[in-house]
């Protein structure tokens, strides 16, 4: 039995496996014991009520899913009164994912959800579905820093900034979040995408565009994880296309201290407990005593140089 514990800032997780926001809710208690997870991460909530986007809200493309759910939310009071108590008896830390339209609103909202029972706040500044053409805060370092800075002064809870694969300024955004006081980064949210039915010519999502997730996204978010882990000193949590234990290991090796499982839970609702079990088995088989022994161990040395020389 290897030591699966990992730390994200001041929080110790019993293992590095947790759900990705939007792919987890209390219904999963009917499939397995949620306390086996490293943490619980809620679906993103907004302060006010939102009804979400028109249907169809999901469609599949090769090896991936597109969604334009649009963050339907029953609002903060409903959440605090009805959803929060459901998780009271779990020992796994509860992470609340929140979204807002302005930095001020993010700050006020963070204050409101800083209540007992909440272990950290995931800052969803990267949903491609709720602003025009996916212009989320995490597209730009300035907007990212602004949101995190204001939230930092509004709450004592750890802030986990969920970044976007849609930006060309991955490192700058990550560093802006760190400088503004984020305690961890999540790499990453879905990637803005589109699908059209070739027979009818119609867009396959009611919202026209949506977020790509699933195995097809993994190489991109794995790359972001690597970039961010090198560029910041706060923990990075990998997210994107994880469905096998090899995926988990790749993210850890790239520098992630924990990982989130999203769309794979839709394909197999018992994915997360399986990954925890298999990660333990792999560490044992490799003679590694802890998850820490894998984190950030990516080998990028000799061979790459040799290949480059051959090409030249």
């Amino acid at each position: 039995m290897a030591d699966l514990r990992t730390t994200i800032g001041g929080l110790t997780l019993k293992n590095p496996i947790m759900p990705a926001s939007g792919t987890f809710s209390e219904e999963l208690t009917e499939v397995f014991d949620l306390d086996c997870l490293g943490a619980l991460v809620t679906k993103t909530i907004t302060r006010g009520k939102r009804s979400g986007n028109p249907v169809p809200r999901v469609c599949e493309v090769n090896g991936a899913m597109l969604n334009s759910i649009g963050i339907p939310s029953k609002g903060v009071s409903w959440f605090l009164q009805n959803t929060l108590p459901l998780y009271r008896d779990y020992e796994a830390p509860l992470v609340i994912s929140i979204s807002a339209n302005t930095a001020d609103e993010f700050a006020r909202f963070a204050e409101e959800v800083s209540v007992p029972g909440v272990a950290a706040i995931e800052v969803n500044i990267s949903c491609p579905n709720i602003e025009d053409d996916g212009k989320a805060f995490a597209m730009r370092p300035g907007a990212t820093g602004d949101v995190i800075r204001r939230m930092r002064s509004a709450t004592h809870l750890p802030l986990w900034a969920k970044l976007s694969p849609n930006t060309g300024e991955v490192v700058e955004v990550a560093q802006a979040a760190e400088e503004a006081g984020a305690d961890a980064l999540i790499t990453a949210n879905t990637m803005l995408a589109m699908a059209i039915d070739s027979r009818t010519g119609r867009a396959r999502l009611g919202n026209i565009m949506g977020g790509l997730s699933g195995p097809a996204l993994k190489p991109i978010t794995l790359r972001m994880t690597y970039q961010c882990a090198r560029a910041v000193s706060i923990p990075v949590i990998g997210c994107g296309g994880i469905s096998t234990v090899d995926d988990v290991i790749e993210y850890l090796v790239a520098g992630a201290r924990a990982i989130q499982v999203g769309t794979a839970t839709f394909i197999s609702p018992s994915t997360m407990p399986r990954l925890i079990r298999e990660l333990d088995e792999v560490l044992d088989a490799r003679g590694l005593r802890s998850v820490d022994a894998l984190i950030g161990t990516v080998d990028v040395t000799d061979e790459a140089v040799v290949v480059a020389e051959c090409v030249r």
Partner: protein
């Protein structure tokens, strides 16, 4: 620190009601030109089903079809004693196209049972089932349940042509009076069915409607039901991703407490009150 034993073995009683299991294909046959019946050997854990519930199927990857998401499919029959679960489906796209390739002896991964099924209320003594196309599959376990409860049953089965009307023998075996209608016969439209159904209300004392498979027929039953004060239930369909209530993809608007609310077809449904569907 030991990893938590997360998945409880099947032999230990546990509170988990949704199961992901691998089932062996027992038989897989064509029913007619369009429909197939898939019979699985299923463990006891997934056979506490209700009529109207569904399973989420991980259709295989084939040369021609590579479905990624699971496909929801309503239960055609379940038999706890024989350990059988069956589905009746029409090959209509990528998922069902892949499903059609399954051979006896191969395995299919299923998640379920899922959703809220039909409720035969105490006051509903003379139900009428109105099924169109593959909607028949969804209503078949309900017919069986009506027979078990001793409710005299009338069923209208509709399809494009008479040879595509399925399961009439099955419905008759449950003691149902079966009326078949078909587009090719010109007797399946709302104009023909309305007087037929209003006649059945008079002569048979029909006091509840159950339907699946056609929005047009559902609307017709809403109108007839409103006129005669008759309630009922409908099983609806929607694109799904997770099937268990997490993703909010499969919502539709329903009338609740005087206003329209989005409800999840996979969780609050797939069976809804006939008169609350908007």
């Amino acid at each position: 620190m030991p990893a938590s034993p997360c998945v409880v073995p099947d032999s230990i009683p546990h509170p988990y009601s949704i199961h992901e299991v691998e089932c062996r294909v027992k038989t897989h046959d064509r029913v007619n030109g369009e429909y197939r019946r898939l019979v699985l050997s299923a463990p006891r854990s997934v056979l506490d089903c209700e009529p109207g519930q569904f399973f989420h199927l991980l259709c295989p990857q084939t040369e021609g079809f590579q479905p990624y998401l699971r496909r929801p499919m309503s239960i055609y029959s379940y038999d706890r004693i024989r350990g059988e679960l069956s589905f009746l489906y029409k090959v209509a796209g990528t998922g069902t196209g892949a499903l059609a390739s399954l051979q006896p002896g191969e395995h299919l991964n299923i998640v379920g049972p899922l959703g809220r099924g039909f409720e035969i209320r105490r006051e509903w003594r003379r139900p009428l089932l109105v099924a169109r196309g593959v909607g028949l599959a969804t209503l078949a376990p309900l017919a069986s349940e009506c027979a078990r409860l001793g409710r005299p049953l009338t069923a209208i089965c509709s399809a494009r042509s008479p040879d595509l009307v399925m399961s009439t023998d099955l419905f008759r075996s449950f003691g149902a009076e079966v009326i078949t209608v078909a587009d090719a016969e010109g007797n399946s439209d709302v104009g023909s069915l309305t007087p037929l159904i209003e006649g059945l209300i008079r002569t048979r004392g029909i006091d509840a409607f159950f339907t699946c498979g056609s929005t047009r027929l559902m609307r017709m039953l809403q109108v007839i039901g409103s006129r005669h004060g008759i309630g009922g239930q409908v099983a609806v369909e929607q694109h799904m991703a997770c099937g268990i209530g997490m993703c909010q993809a499969c919502v539709r608007p329903f009338l609740r407490d005087g206003g329209a609310v989005n409800l999840r077809v996979c969780r609050e449904g797939p069976v809804f009150d006939l008169h609350e569907v908007l």
